[in-house]
Amino acid sequence: MNLMAQILINVIIAFLAGSLLLGFHRKVMARVQLRPGPPIIQYLLHSLKFFFKETTFPKTASIPFYISITVILAGIWVTGVIVGPVAKGSLMILFGIYAIHKIVEHNAGSSSGSPYGKVSCVRAVFSAAGELPLFAVIAVIFILTGTMDISGIIAYQSIHGPLIFQLPLAALMFFTLIVTKSPYSPFAITKGKEIISGFETEHFGMLRGYIMFSESIAWYILLWIFLTIFFGPISVVGYVIGMIVICIITGFINATTPMLNPNHSVMAQISIAVICTVGSIIMIII
């Protein structure tokens, strides 16, 4: 298939699947909390709606960063689709994309001039200190498989079996990262309700549309990477079932767990990262 067509199809799939999975995640949370919850399609409708709403710009905003940061967010996650499902390229580039995602959280918060965004911006610095060590999982995988290429890792698993059985602690690390990025997560300190919507508070209209579009793709890509690098070559049905199961588990965790304060959140993530990294390396050596 033509490369451009392949990219376009994968971006559309990532957006639609990511939106529906986020809607499903919200539904699971609502049912666990004995509420009916919004329809599963609600997140997708919200995302599309914002593209047709009036866009406003605060007088205090840092222009052009206030606008361009949302476009950058969309751009990096489209790149994530290209590096991930399309090219099955290096995990290091996806690590870089995740680092830029943290920068977007930081700058979208600070560029508006809102005090809520500013608190979210400072928390983004804290959370980056906790979340990036969790990405040490890719180093652990590299030590075992000898490659960062997703296609190489898939090939390794087709010979040696799924990595989840060889590196369960590394899988736990990555799963913690997924929980962190899930909506209403106990680790989502940048979007705490006491700071309204955190870094997203002052972004309306099309800019919010870009953010929601990117978050859908980001959620899909994170789940896709987890299933690909820990469960080996699986079919489309396997991906669908795996993504739904992860949404149910994270939805249950988020519905029953209060949000941690920033220091506890960072220390919990760093502790999990250190214990799982050291444990995984010991398991590889043994």
Binding site: K59, S62, V83, I103, S112, V122, F142, M148
Partner: protein, 222 residues
């Protein structure tokens, strides 16, 4: 080759004697991204922080003065260029130099601010950055002593010896301190409370990109 297993296939090399610059998709992605951010910083204006005041209906507005704006913008652009250099360098010593330059300009970016808490934080970060300069350069020196080269292209093909591993781990401590990540982040986070969104962005961006690149370098050496 190991390098190809990390950031993708090598797309080209620029041999400059012992120092061989090499480009792969990861380097290009990081390099282009940092240049885009640096260009945006160069043309961006700063935000005005607005907070309501207690006991009245007034607002407290904090913005960046013109002179301060020019100084901080200049240092931010230098920081962006230094980070871009660290993304594509093929030499370990150049990487440590870029890292040290980033640490210095990071302090400079916030040192023009007239907020005591922010200056205190910058001072603490400066102390840690200075102390971590020793393991940063010391680690690189150990690797040079153990292998006779600082070219990453050469290091990738040399089997890791205990001294190389020790040197790399010492360098890791240096990079963690210089970039202000965990467990040193507490000294740096308060620096971000100051206005001047585009300038504090580059402090955070340079730290994160340095970490991404150093992970690649670490795995290349080991």
């Amino acid at each position: 080759m190991l390098i190809e297993n990390l950031g993708g296939n090598v797309m080209g090399t620029i041999p400059l004697g012992d120092i061989v610059l090499y480009l792969n998709p990861l380097h290009i992605f990081l390099f282009v991204t940092i240049l885009v951010f640096t260009a945006l910083i160069a043309i961006s204006r700063t935000e005005t922080q607005v907070e309501s005041m207690f006991g009245s209906l007034d607002e407290n507005k904090v913005s960046v003065g013109k002179k301060e704006f020019k100084q901080r913008r200049f240092l931010s652009v230098i920081c962006g260029i230094a980070t871009a250099g660290a993304m594509i360098t093929g030499d370990l010593f150049n990487f440590t130099l870029f890292m040290a330059l980033i640490g210095i300009v990071n302090i400079g970016i916030v040192s023009a601010v007239k907020q005591v808490d922010v200056l205190n934080s910058a001072y603490q970060y400066g102390l840690i950055a200075m102390m971590c300069g020793l393991p940063l350069f010391g680690g690189a020196a150990m690797i040079l002593a153990a292998t006779g080269t600082l070219s990453l292209f050469e290091l990738a093909s040399i089997p890791a010896s205990p001294m190389m591993i020790f040197g790399a781990l010492v360098m890791l401590i240096g990079v963690c301190g210089e970039s202000g990540i965990a467990p040193f982040f507490a000294s740096k986070a308060e620096m971000f409370r100051t206005p001047g969104s585009p300038f504090i962005l580059i402090i955070h961006l340079s730290s994160l990109f340095i970490i991404v690149r150093f992970v690649e370098i670490l795995l290349t050496i080991l």
